[in-house]
Symmetry: C2
Subunit: 268 residues, 2 copies
């Protein structure tokens, strides 16, 4: 490119700055796999989830699940998912969007049928209940005895989202006060310059448009190169593609090229 | 009381105005059982949930569950809960606090292990994703083929809640635009005068205080008589009482007396 690009930190450099073991691991995976792609596994069965994870595993740094939308959940399936995450090198992100008071989310996170804290490296929460939700989830993470990371949903991609203005500002404040456990945001715009925080953007698709239920899409280039977010979350653009492996590869390259252009480097 | 009390509509009268079959049923149950008490069943097993439902069933109009915090969830347990709801006369309210885009919540509501739409007469959602969340849940309710009602979480009882000001106003707007399916609010203050909307308030306890994880408590009298809310949601004040039957009875009388005082009638 001809215009000068401002200095950006590499993912490896950011891994060094991070206070959280999971965030460190994620940055390293991104670097080694040349991927800032998270696939949103919006499928309805564990079987489909495993198949999808096998197909897209080589291209992603993160697999985003809705474990409570699977008709045939089983702990065996979760074990298989964990093995795939190890062998193909990606982390598991349960997109639970916790939204309750601390005492409740602690139980929802660690207990129930799903035992999310046991297997999901990353989960997320709405900041709407106030800081108690972070304390509750932190207690749950500690209870699990494992390294865990939390993202706050600071903005949403859907039409008419109320996660704007002062709401988003408060989310950022809550994250900063809990850095170490809160490692980033689900957002549409870059919210903080502190390089330890990871910005992930859902609603990413190569073709613009909506889904008739309020979802609105943006392109990988727009999200990574223009808005300077870190990770693109792609759902239906990959899961509903004729060839999901090819689609995952295409999005991986699109996301990584956009990152390189930000670093001022040439394309892959 | 000596001071004149403004005219209030009875629950029966409000049942007539409601556009939603579940809200009508709830108002009628409240009238016949003289109860505006909802118990928050914050327990960790299905067995405890059933036991609690049997104990408090005669005193409540609504049982609020966190089905995803039970370690031994079973559909048989849900069937037993449904039978108790029929025999003791209370409705089931799954406090799921949905918080995702329309396409996702539709699946979370109808599918997964819990099949919430199948058995929960009422559920709730955060308005944060915008109106698409209501459309998605409405689709799910239609898919279930059953009468269902939705509450919006317009305010929260926890410290530092972001559900305030314009956020709450937007929630009210979304509810009004979807009256018929949205039948009320989880809130701390009365938000609309339209008598078809039911205002429910969590964080109610006869003793003031907090829980160390951000929860803040208010008394039944304060909530019903002063703030003019409709239903008190009581959790630990009943579930952690030495005698839960006696506690349920005490809260039922406290809530109903506060309602009567609002109607300008004498106590029970």
């Amino acid at each position: 490119t001809s215009s000068p690009v401002p200095k950006e930190m590499t993912w490896s450099a950011r891994a060094e700055l991070s206070q959280n073991a999971i965030a460190k691991k994620l940055f390293h995976l991104m670097e080694s796999k040349k991927s800032n792609l998270c696939v949103a596994a919006d499928v309805s069965s564990m079987k489909e989830l495993i198949t999808l994870a096998k197909e897209v595993g080589p291209y992603i740094c993160l697999l985003k699940t809705h474990i409570d939308a699977l008709d045939d959940f089983s702990l065996d399936g979760v074990r298989e998912l964990e093995e795939l995450s190890q062998s193909a090198g990606f982390l598991l992100f349960e997109d639970r969007k916790f939204g309750d008071i601390g005492a409740t989310v602690m139980n929802q996170y660690t207990s129930g049928v799903y035992h999310i804290a046991e297997w999901a490296h990353i989960t997320n929460a709405h900041p709407v209940p106030g800081p108690g939700i972070i304390s509750g989830l932190k207690k749950g993470a500690d209870k699990s005895g494992k390294d865990r990371a939390l993202l706050l949903v600071a903005e949403m991609s859907s039409e008419g989202s109320l996660a704007v203005g002062p709401y988003t500002k408060e989310a950022v404040k809550m994250a900063k006060e809990n850095a170490g456990f809160v490692t980033g945001f689900i957002a549409q715009n870059k919210l903080v310059d502190d390089p330890q925080f990871i910005h992930m953007t859902p609603g990413v698709k190569l073709e613009k448009g909506g889904d008739g239920l309020g979802q609105q899409y943006n392109s990988p280039k727009d999200v990574i190169a223009e808005r300077k977010m870190d990770i693109i979350i792609v759902g239906r653009g990959i899961t509903q593609a004729q060839d999901r492996v090819e689609a995952a590869s295409t999005y991986q390259r699109a996301g990584y090229d956009a990152y390189l252009s930000r670093l001022g480097k040439s394309k892959t």
